[in-house]
Structures are given as structure tokens and as C-alpha cells.
């Protein structure tokens, strides 16, 4: 167990979004957090990535409170990608990926052969080596997202948190990005936690689903345990039929209509 939330209470300003939530991220798995809009899934991911300090409870990384570990040390084992990040205009893919090495650099030693190798590997892994010199703004949405993931990869962490990595992408690019996530997992046994909206893609690409509603985890488990018609009614207020995906063998949700 590397990353864990224990009875965390999270919120912004006056509002409490998550109250008393427990979650254990199993090492070497791909976990997808699903749930309706505003259920607190992104908030939970931010807390796991120490972007948001819990008001109660704690987030533990390797058994230690994450906010007590120097943030640079955390950055060497845990990488994260927020939703729809923006880069300065004209930044090239290579420049972006190089910045993933930030936690490994000091101001007097800015570049090492380790950095070089990590950047090359990240570019190769995401299939962007040929686009390295292109400015980010000139890429397609899917390529751009791959570039950001490549930056997180260059960081060289076993743990990766991705907040809706497929937002604003068309279906083909969503699949492209999630295939990359799967490769990352399989190639280096990385532990990945992501927030996803598309239930069918979540079922296909994650080992474990965590279904949230109103700041609580309703159920966590393998896709076929979580994605049931009963759960869809309870969590998403959706009447749906769940069949087996004829391609991947994972559950496939066919929506019928809002549950009344």
C-alpha cells in the first residue's frame, strides 16, 4: 500500500465536499474514480496529490503523512496531471517534457544524463519523439495530452494521478490516451489513479473502479462488481442495462433514461 486516504475531510471555503472518506490505492493497479458531477472525485484526487490539504483525517504516502514529507521528495515518487493544464505559448513538446525533471534538479545542477535518458524514454513511450520540436499549440488535442502525460512520465514516478485525462478529446483520442495509460501500467508496473467520466472506457481500462456519490465511496472493486444496474441507479440515478462489452469482455453500460 503506497497511497491511502484515511477518514479525509475535504472542502473549499465554507463547503465540505468529502467527509470521512477512506480509500486504499492498490499498488500496481489502474484505478478509475467515477461518479456524477460534483461528487468530489476531482477533490479526492487533488487531496491524494497533496494539492489540497485535508481538514480532517490524513493522506498517507508509504505510511507517512504526505503533508509532512518535503514536497520535492513527494514529487520524486508521485506525479500528477491536473484537468486541462495550460502551457505558455510557443512551448515545444521537448521543453514541456524536460520540465518534468524539475524535482530532480537543483538550481546549480540543471541537467544530467539521468534527465536526458528520462526525457528520451518518456518521448519514445508516448510516441512523440518525432514531434519533440513542435510547439504544443500546433498539436492535436490527443497529441497535446500525450505530451503532458509524457512530462509526468519524465518525472520518473511509480505513482501517477490523472484528473480526467480525456476531457475535451474525441472518442478516438480518448482511446489513444487510455491505451497509453495501459501501456504505462504494463511496461513499468506503475500505479495509476485517474478520474474518468466515461464509464465504459473506465471499465475497459481500469483494474479497479471506485464509485463516489456526494463525497462518499459507495463501492470499490473490479469493474464487473461495480458497474451493475443497481449501482447505476443508486449512484448516477440512471436506468441502464449492463451487458458484456463484446470487444473487451468488460461491463458495457447502455443508458435507458434518468431514474425516476
Amino acid at each position: 500500500m503506497r497511497l491511502q486516504a484515511a477518514a479525509v475531510k475535504l472542502g473549499y471555503g465554507e463547503r465540505t465536499v468529502v467527509d470521512g472518506l477512506d480509500l486504499v490505492v492498490e499498488p500496481g493497479t489502474v484505478t478509475a474514480i467515477i461518479g456524477p458531477n460534483g461528487c468530489g472525485k476531482s477533490t479526492l484526487l487533488r487531496a491524494l496529490g497533496r494539492l489540497l490539504k485535508p481538514r480532517g483525517g490524513e493522506v498517507l504516502l508509504d505510511g507517512k503523512r504526505i503533508d509532512r514529507i518535503p514536497t520535492r521528495e513527494v514529487a520524486k515518487v508521485l506525479g500528477l496531471l491536473p484537468q486541462a493544464p495550460t502551457a505558455p505559448e510557443g512551448l515545444t513538446v521537448a521543453d514541456l517534457v524536460v520540465r518534468g525533471r524539475h524535482p530532480h534538479q537543483t538550481w546549480y545542477r540543471q541537467w544530467s544524463s539521468d534527465d536526458e535518458a528520462a526525457v528520451s524514454e518518456a518521448l519514445a513511450m508516448t510516441g512523440l519523439a518525432d514531434l519533440a520540436e513542435r510547439p504544443l499549440d500546433e498539436l492535436s488535442g490527443g497529441q497535446r495530452q500525450r505530451a503532458w502525460i509524457s512530462m509526468a512520465l519524465a518525472q520518473g514516478t511509480d505513482l501517477l494521478l490523472l484528473d480526467e485525462p480525456t476531457t475535451f478529446l474525441d472518442l478516438a483520442h480518448q482511446v489513444e490516451v487510455l491505451e497509453l495509460v495501459r501501456r504505462l501500467h504494463q511496461a513499468a508496473d506503475r500505479t495509476i489513479v485517474m478520474v474518468l467520466h466515461d464509464l465504459n472506457l473506465a471499465a475497459r481500462y481500469a483494474d479497479r473502479l471506485v464509485a463516489m456519490r456526494e463525497g462518499r465511496v459507495i463501492i470499490a472493486g473490479a469493474p464487473h462488481e461495480v458497474l451493475t444496474e443497481e449501482l447505476l441507479r443508486e449512484v448516477f440515478e440512471l436506468d441502464a442495462k449492463v451487458i458484456t462489452d463484446p470487444v473487451a469482455g468488460t461491463p458495457l453500460v447502455i443508458p435507458i433514461g434518468p431514474h425516476r
Binding site: 473549499y12 514536497t71 495550460t86 505558455p88 520540465r99 535518458a117 519514445a124 519523439a129
Partner: protein, 344 residues
């Protein structure tokens, strides 16, 4: 494939950047020579060199040593300071139209100077400059504190800009009230507001030098953190950067640099605004290169404008601040029109 694709790239890029740095250093040297030799009394470079190495007490040697050299050195310091401060400011606010005065530094310096005249009876240029520096520091700390109140867990670019604008407007109103009431304050303020590096003397150079040096060191320390911050606060935190600390160091650097420059030279419009754009078109978005490029271009631009001011209206001179504003405004319009404003 990846390793061979990236390795030569980083080397050629590095070479290109070092080459550009050398070219800019060369440009600075040329403007320094111009600044020492050109004026209402031209001094040939050989004679100027002799004035520095083997002064003979001739009139031209005295001019070079007591007027031209301090003026040039002050121009170098102010150009470095404003160029670097402008790039820092635009980087931290992610706003291409931000200038170093955004933190209330310029108005803080102006207010402290005129206030020192009517309240404390300050008389000498050196005294004004000390008060100007103090005013710049206090205004900036005030703006930072105000910006902190508004932001969640530290000042954000937006709260900083709002606080800076509010504090600047308030101080400007106070300054205006004072100069309307007091004639001596009015004279000093007018002299200062025009913006000039002339008639300051070596003591002023020594007075602001430590602030500029400290500001430049902080700026270079800030550069890698600013690179991370330019990807957004969440990404920067994910990369292990401490946001509050990075912003604090950045604000301190901008304050020291801008405070020193405006206290000694008055308001020098457009340097901090335009120079980073020029530098960025050469260096790209990496602040480790953008900051030195901005500093050098700032020096070249400031000295060039000063030299132009000496020759356009003989026998008189045009203040460098006026020349910069006259050159800078159309230049800035052209810059904005040529390309759409850059997103930072």
C-alpha cells in the same frame, strides 16, 4: 531512437543560446562605447580609453570620468534591473502586458520621495533615493500582504495585480496632493518623473548597486521555479515546487530591481514592458535564458535611447525616459499588431 533524437537537439540548442548570449553581450559593449563617447562633446574612443587607463586631466578626460562613466554604469544597472524585473513580472503574473510597476513599486518610490521632502525636509539626491528605495520596498510588501488576504493559501497573480493597482492609485493620489501643495516637492517630482540617468554621479551608482546585485541573484535563483509555475500552479506543485516561496522570492527580486532603478532614475517607461517580449522571441519560454537575455537587451535599449536623447536636440538633451516613451509606444503597438499577444 529517442536518445539519439534528443541528445543532439539539446546540444545545438545550447550552442544557439550561448551564441545569442554572446551577440547580446556584444551589442551591450557597442552601446556602452557609444554612451561613453557620444554627446554634446564627442570623445573619440581612443581618447576615452586613455581617460580610463591614464587620465591626463584634460577636459574630455574629466567629462568621461566624472559624467559619462557614472551615467553609463547607471544605465547598465537600470537596464539590467528593469529588463529582468519585467520578465519576472510577466512570468509570475502570466500576463504579457504586466510591467514591473505593477506591484506599486514606482508609485511607492515617488510618494516616499515627495513625502520625505515636505515631512522630513530631505534635501540631497542621495537622501531622496534612500527614501525612494524604502518607499518601493514598503509599497511592494504592502501589495504582497494585501494580495495574500485575497488569495487562497498565498497571493495569486490576480490578487497581486489588483492589490498593486489599488495601492498605486492611492499613492499616486497622495503624491499628486503633495506636489500641488509644495513647490520644492513639485520640482523634485518633475525632475524624477521625466526619467533620466544623467547627472547622478558615482555615489548614486554605489548606492543602488547592492540592491541591483541582490535582485539579480534572487531572479536567477527564481528562474527554475518560475519555469515550473508557468505550467500552472497545480502542475508546479505536482513537480515539487513551493508556490508561496517561489512567488515571495520573485516579488522580492522585482521589488529590489525596480525599486533601485526607479529610485535612482525615475520612471523609465516601456523598458520592463517591451524588453521581455524581445528577449522571449530569442530565448523562448525558458526563464533561465529569458532573464539574462532580458537584462542585456534592457541595457542595450536604455543606453541607445540615452545616446539618441543626447544628439536629437542639440545643444540640449532629451531625458532618456522621454526618448523611451517616444520610441517605445509605436514599437509596442507594432509588437502587438504583428503577432497576437502572447499567452504566458
Amino acid at each position: 531512437m529517442g536518445a539519439t533524437a534528443v541528445a543532439p537537439r539539446s546540444h545545438t540548442l545550447r550552442h544557439r543560446r550561448l551564441l545569442l548570449l554572446t551577440v547580446l553581450l556584444g551589442a551591450v559593449c557597442v552601446t556602452v562605447v557609444l554612451s561613453v563617447t557620444v554627446g554634446s562633446r564627442p570623445v573619440p574612443p581612443a581618447d576615452a580609453w586613455q581617460a580610463l587607463t591614464a587620465p591626463a586631466g584634460t577636459e574630455s578626460h574629466i567629462i568621461v570620468r566624472s559624467l559619462r562613466v557614472p551615467r553609463t554604469v547607471l544605465g547598465v544597472l537600470a537596464g539590467l534591473a528593469l529588463g529582468v524585473a519585467g520578465a519576472l513580472m510577466q512570468g509570475h503574473t502570466r500576463n504579457p502586458l504586466a510591467d514591473p510597476g505593477l506591484l506599486g513599486v514606482t508609485q511607492g518610490a515617488a510618494f516616499a520621495m515627495v513625502a520625505s521632502i515636505i515631512l522630513l525636509g530631505a534635501q540631497s539626491l542621495l537622501a531622496y533615493i534612500w527614501f525612494g528605495l524604502a518607499g518601493a520596498l514598503i509599497a511592494s510588501v504592502g501589495v504582497f500582504a494585501l494580495g495574500m488576504v485575497g488569495g487562497r493559501g498565498g497571493p495569486t497573480p490576480v490578487t497581486l495585480a489588483l492589490a498593486g493597482t489599488a495601492v498605486s492609485a492611492f499613492l499616486y493620489a497622495l503624491t499628486s496632493a503633495i506636489v500641488l501643495l509644495d513647490e520644492q516637492a513639485m520640482d523634485v517630482f518633475r525632475f524624477w518623473q521625466a526619467g533620466s540617468i544623467a547627472a547622478r554621479g558615482p555615489d548614486v551608482v554605489w548606492q543602488v548597486l547592492p540592491f541591483v546585485v541582490a535582485g539579480l541573484v534572487l531572479a536567477m535563483v527564481n528562474a527554475p521555479g518560475l519555469n515550473a509555475l508557468s505550467l500552472g500552479e497545480d502542475v508546479a506543485r505536482g513537480l515539487g515546487q513551493r508556490i508561496g516561496l517561489t512567488r515571495g522570492v520573485g516579488v522580492a527580486a522585482v521589488t529590489l530591481l525596480t525599486g533601485a532603478a526607479v529610485a535612482a532614475c525615475g520612471s523609465l517607461a516601456f523598458v520592463g514592458l517591451i524588453v521581455p517580449h524581445l528577449a522571449r522571441s530569442l530565448s523562448g519560454t525558458d526563464h533561465r535564458w529569458l532573464l539574462p537575455y532580458s537584462g542585456l537587451i534592457g541595457v542595450a535599449l536604455l543606453l541607445l535611447a540615452d545616446v539618441i536623447g543626447r544628439v536629437v536636440a542639440p545643444p540640449g538633451e532629451l531625458e532618456v525616459g522621454v526618448v523611451l516613451a517616444l520610441l517605445g509606444a509605436p514599437f509596442f503597438v507594432a509588437l502587438v499588431r504583428r503577432r497576437k499577444p502572447v499567452r504566458l
